[in-house]
């Protein structure tokens, strides 16, 4: 064979080999990429399902609590008002009948208020700051402990679902504090700039390094993660507990 022809054959074969190598590399990359795409889609689907499950659980919990509260209201408040209205309306005295009508008006107002709390539309209309204020007022009114709210404005850009989950997490944190810590004071700080909510109490505190038997803290952490936030807890025995909820941007 001529030297030039042999050089050409060599180039041809080497070029073909290189092209084959490149082709194999590209095919391998594409296959690997597709596999990862499928895995990623499955992961996203799982996170979505988990998120929907969390949301459903929270909605159920809130509705359950609302129903308990409605039952209590019907028995303790509206029931009493209805009895009083009946007594007054049965009277022959016109002033008593007028008082009875007043009671009926009050009952209508109370029932309207209760019906509003039965669906979750209130979550959209209420600001986070207002909700926290209401919750703290409720605790203070029971005389269980002192409460304090430090708010530098309200946190914006939260979807209804995010707000719902956040409201439930705050409620849970407050419930835990009342149930387990027996504090003298509970305070909440809302920082819209940092997008954080800090819940502190001066109660018993606990050792965070010891794994708890319940799933409360893990649940709260998971719920915050479900909305892209963070749940940080710091507690020392006898020195109270600080919970920092970091919200997504």
């Amino acid at each position: 064979m001529q030297p030039e022809a042999s050089q050409f054959t060599f180039l041809l074969f080497s070029g073909a080999f290189l092209a084959l190598l490149m082709g194999t590399f590209v095919v391998a990359m594409v296959v690997l990429h597709r596999q990862r795409q499928i895995q990623n889609r499955e992961k996203i689907e799982k996170i979505k399902t988990e998120y929907e499950k969390t949301l459903l659980n929270i909605e159920n919990e809130i509705q359950q609590e609302t129903l308990t509260q409605v039952g209590r209201e019907l028995h303790d408040n509206i029931g009493q008002l209805l009895s009083l209205a009946k007594l007054n309306l049965n009277s022959s005295k016109p002033e008593k009948q007028a008082e009875g009508k007043e009671y009926i008006n009050e009952i209508i107002r109370e029932v309207r208020g209760l019906s509003k709390s039965l669906n979750l539309d209130w979550v959209e209309s209420i600001t986070l700051e207002k909700f926290v204020e209401n919750e703290l007022r409720k605790i203070q009114s029971t005389g269980f402990c002192e409460t304090h709210l430090d708010s530098q404005g309200t946190i914006k850009n939260l979807t209804k679902d995010q707000k719902l989950i956040l409201i439930r997490v705050i409620q849970e944190c407050l419930n835990n504090s009342i149930k387990h810590a027996h504090p003298n004071q509970i305070s909440i700080t809302i920082s819209p700039e940092k997008r954080t909510i800090q819940i502190s109490d001066d109660g018993k505190g606990f050792d965070t390094s010891i794994a708890s038997s319940g799933s409360g803290m893990t649940n709260l952490k998971k719920r915050m993660e479900a909305i892209g936030g963070k749940f940080k807890i710091h507690s020392t025995l006898g020195k109270g507990t600080d919970i920092n909820l970091v919200l997504p941007n």
Binding site: L18, M22, F25, M29
Partner: protein, 252 residues
């Protein structure tokens, strides 16, 4: 002098193809919409094409215009001028174009860690080139094997980081890989760098023992360079067409 330049050009198929292809790519860049021209991936590719187009032709011209070449040589060295144009390839091909391609890969990577690693490599490469040249260990007018080695290794490593990013980062996983022009460009860059790397480290052996293989590395490397140009050109062309179709749809 210019006639000599064109005669040299006429004898070199690679340079001729590069001249035509390069001009088309540069020309097509100006038809891209403004916001795309400003996007780093397009802008760095354009800079790369302009740079290669410039130094390839400048290198041929310097072989013809010995007076200018001698003038440039006297600026970078006090050694006698031997008529070489290697300093152009050393500076533009082995240093600036490698750094530019590393920057191009860098802005395609999403992972902060991989970005930091690549930035580190880039700074180290630039520092390495400066130290070797300023200290006089490997002057610009002579062969610079450590810089060739480092430049090609950095590009191979950078491409590797990009491919890892491609199969791990969620943003990359959302796209169709086959339709992604950057993937094809970096694949070509990887193979071109790998071949240059092999040719450069085995230079001494190949020149004396297997000249065919040495030429093979060089030819294929040239073909890959042309393919990179072609892919960049097609990338620009399809982007222009996409934009045109969008305008037509809007008008309809």
């Amino acid at each position: 002098m210019f006639q000599e330049f064109f005669t040299k050009l006429n004898n070199n198929l690679y340079s001729q193809t590069l001249l035509v292809l390069g001009a088309l790519v540069i020309f097509s860049f100006f038809f891209l919409p403004k916001e795309k021209k400003r996007r780093p991936e397009f802008f760095y590719l354009f800079l790369f094409v302009v740079l290669v187009y410039f130094y390839e032709n400048f290198a041929i011209y310097m072989l013809v215009d010995k007076k200018s070449n001698a003038f440039f040589h006297s600026m970078i060295s006090s050694t006698p001028f031997q008529g070489w144009n290697i300093w152009i390839l050393n500076l533009f091909n082995y240093q600036i174009s490698k750094a530019l391609l590393l920057i191009y890969i860098l802005q395609l990577i999403y992972s902060p860690l991989r970005k930091t690693i690549l930035k580190g490599i880039l700074f180290f490469f630039v520092g390495f080139c400066l130290i070797l040249q300023v200290s006089g260990w490997y002057p610009l007018y002579n062969f610079q094997p450590p810089i060739y080695f480092f430049g090609n290794s950095a590009l191979i490593f950078g491409s590797g980081l990009y491919f890892i990013d491609l199969i791990t980062e969620e943003k990359h996983l959302e796209m169709d890989l086959i339709k992604n022009w950057n993937f094809w460009i970096i694949t070509l860059i990887l193979f071109q760098s790998a071949l240059s790397f092999l040719a450069d480290i085995a230079y001494d052996y190949l020149v004396f023992n297997d000249l065919d293989l040495y030429f093979f590395f060089n030819y294929i490397s040239m073909v890959l360079y042309l393919l990179i140009f072609l892919t960049i050109g097609l990338y620009f062309f399809f982007e222009i067409r996409k934009e045109k179709n969008k305008t037509v749809r809007h008008a309809a």
